[in-house]
Amino acid sequence: MLSTTEKRHLNQTTKLAYRIIGPSLLFVIIFVAIPLVYSLYISTQEFKYGVPTGRGIWFQNYIDIFTKSTVAPGFYSSLEITFKFTIVAVALVMIISFLIALLIEQKFKGSNLIKVALLLPYAIPGAVSAVIWNWIYDPNFGVLNGLLYTLGFIEKYFSISSNPDLAIWGILFAYVWKIVPYSTFLFSAGLSTIPTSVYEAAKLDRSGPFRTLSKIIIPMLMPVIQMVLVIQTIFALVLHFGLIFVITQGGPGDSTRTLAWHIYKETFTFTRFGRGAAMAVILSLIMVIFIYVYLVVLNPERALKRKQKRLEKEAIQSV
């Protein structure tokens, strides 16, 4: 228990603290928290031709999204595309960035050059990277076609963005290019914490490079790998929006209509604000799961506390 003087001190610092963090909190409350709550409210309202009828319809929008025969299939397909995209994107990002991080850790003259090169895709705004990749994929004059043609892989130029099987891959590769630097530096930092003595010990044991990787490096990197996995999932669920806007507009057909794009279309093209908001709430709920895992389950400070508690418990039991 706190003594009264300690309590008074705590009250004083609390007052001072909120005076200082207050303006920041206010910004976030006005422009993020209130909109979130407002979004919940809109999702329970009825709209006709983009105008609110003033009628509260509770969960009707949500029920429609999951069950109505004209609405649900589109929603489910967008969900499926989003999940597939996310799984493949996260897997690719992790493999590519891990390999680049391994390369950087070889500590040779060019490794700093690679680090600086990594900063460029990072620095380029997502929407501009979409414009760049759109030009690379150009069906008539694009350099991808030109390169494959020159090397003899194709005889005719082809279109990526208007081919229902290829379009999503086009989005995926452009996305991976832009997002890879985020995880590469995290992996690289993780790798550099493994002491060289570990590698030397592995060498003495005549452990081959693949065995060293699977038995030593990956287990030691597990906390970083988990962290990258979750944060990349959070990114992949939504950060592809600019690419879809520029390169495919959700098409051809519905092949690149992810949930984020679906929400955008429902809201701003078809002006179904209520349904759009309801879908946005569902997307947020999906993301909250991953955000919770990232901030709470994978939080190093909390993980440490949990470990201490477990050790204490074991100690008590052993006594």
């Binding site: 414009v131 008539n140 290019w177 993301m287």
Partner: protein, 299 residues
Amino acid sequence: MFNTISGRKRAKTILVIIASILVLAYLLGPIYWVAISGFQRETNLQDRPPHFILTKDIFTLNHYSYLFTGIVPENSSVMLQSMYTMSGTLVYPSIINSLIVAIFVTFINIMLGLPAGHVFARYKFKGKNPAMFFLLATRLLPSISIVIPVYMIFLRLDLIDKKLGLILLYTAITLPFTIWILQAYFKNIPVEYEEAARMDGCGYLKTLIRVVLPIAQPGIIAAAIFTFMTSYGEFVFATILTQSLNSRTQTAVLAALTQGMSSSRGMIAAAASLTIIPPMIIAIAFRKYIIEGLSTRFA
């Protein structure tokens, strides 16, 4: 020399070199291609196969001169002239808009985020953990899930198509990250420095400016750069909340430019090259701070 190096080591060196070339080509290839496309004549851009290297006889500054002056190159055919769509002239002013917005956001952000980060790192107060969790969670939520209400709030506050609106909104979006990165930074600075200043009779603000600010400089620079990059490159809100050059930023202009199927590819490439110059210069100039920032949890 060579026979002293074992064969295995040499094989490894060769492998590293090949891998480096592949990685560099992968990372820089797209940027190289868009950069040289902006300097190629439209007719040469339509050649099959394309020109992979920029040579003197395909070089032109027409695309750039159009972006800056709006004057369609005279010596081109009618068909080519029609490809220079009016929206190309919006690119340069929209880059200026983006820079103005990003600079204001960065400034406000550091002014508010620096003391807030310091408080989170140094003081125990009621509701501290919930407040931090609240800030962090809002940062990770997707912009698409608040874009509808933000649009409606902006309508009501008359902030649609105003730079001020974007500045306020982006400040709110970027503040949590700034606070988080700065409080993590402050935690690594020994508290004794500040206590010594306090002993000497410095008030809170004076301690912050005289002692904390100089030591925390690298963290502040990193936070400022991340804020700048986020605001400069934001797309979802920019495309929905802006309408004219009053406030339209470069991402929105550029994305709209590609929707005209027949616009000049050279002009688009030049526009894209132009917009990525400011963030790339910043990235290279402050590489040390950015790499350090990206290597920590949360970036």
